[in-house]
């Protein structure tokens, strides 16, 4: 599993709505941020699916843009190279 964080930009009016719809996701921790109006989503998914997740975020009504802030895929490598 990979862990990533995204910054999801929205408008002040839509902030609550976007938060509500994203909070329904079970794989994400959502933190709203007031100014600029946006949310931080910490997500735990296989890295192959991350681009799809990013697209899903983008498709959420009220979302202006999505930016990747952090990505860690160590766990997926399963200790490769350790031996």
């Amino acid at each position: 599993m990979a862990i990533a964080s995204f910054i999801i930009h929205t408008t002040r009016q839509d902030l609550a709505g976007v938060k509500a719809s994203l909070s329904q996701r079970r794989d994400a921790t959502i933190l709203p941020w007031e100014s600029p109006p946006c949310l931080v989503a910490v997500i735990e998914r296989p890295s192959k699916e991350l681009e799809r997740v990013e697209r899903e975020f983008k498709a959420t009504p009220g979302v202006l843009s999505v930016a990747t802030a952090y990505l860690n895929i160590e766990d997926e490598l399963g200790g490769e190279g350790a031996k």
Partner: protein
């Protein structure tokens, strides 16, 4: 997970209380790591690498956005070049800012129309507002990069002028 959430909320409170400086050094270290993994994943050449540390001080005279984006996002770059904004040299950074986030304009792939467009188009925005009320952004009708010097919207406005 609940514990983590609590932890975040506390942290957030701390930050909003203005004690941001406590967290910044820590976060910066994490940030460097984050950047590396992000880049090493290589979502490939479509990502802008200008913000990378080693490109921070750009000395190459060819390094304006367009020169590189001609290659990595050719359609967008060409659209811009042929649009009114391209013809009139309203360059990328005027609306998008700098990818390293250190510019005068906030960096954004989708600039906030309320700020970016207002610098020049305040009268037009006002007109649209009185005609149609609030709309989210301007781009849905007036393509930032596709409003060309030759497109037919113009023809419409001529006929409008004549009708008046």
């Amino acid at each position: 997970m609940k514990k983590l959430r609590q932890f975040f909320t506390d942290t957030l409170n701390q930050i909003t209380l203005g004690r941001k400086w406590l967290i910044i050094p820590m976060a910066l270290a994490v940030l460097a790591l984050a950047y590396f993994s992000y880049l090493s994943l290589a979502f490939s050449g479509t990502r802008c690498t200008w913000g990378q540390a080693q490109h921070g001080e750009v000395t190459d005279a060819q390094s304006d956005c367009y020169a590189c984006h001609k290659k990595v996002t050719p359609k967008i770059a060409q659209d811009w070049n042929e649009s009114k904004h391209g013809m009139l040299l309203v360059k990328c950074y005027v609306c998008h800012g700098l990818p390293d986030g250190k510019g005068a304009v906030p960096f954004s792939a989708k600039p906030d129309a309320k700020v970016a467009c207002q610098r020049c188009h305040a009268p037009a925005i006002e007109r649209m507002y009185t005609k149609f009320g609030v709309r989210e952004g301007c781009n849905s009708c007036h393509g930032f990069h596709t409003n060309s010097l030759h497109h037919d919207a113009y023809a419409k406005s001529v006929s409008k002028q004549k009708a008046e």
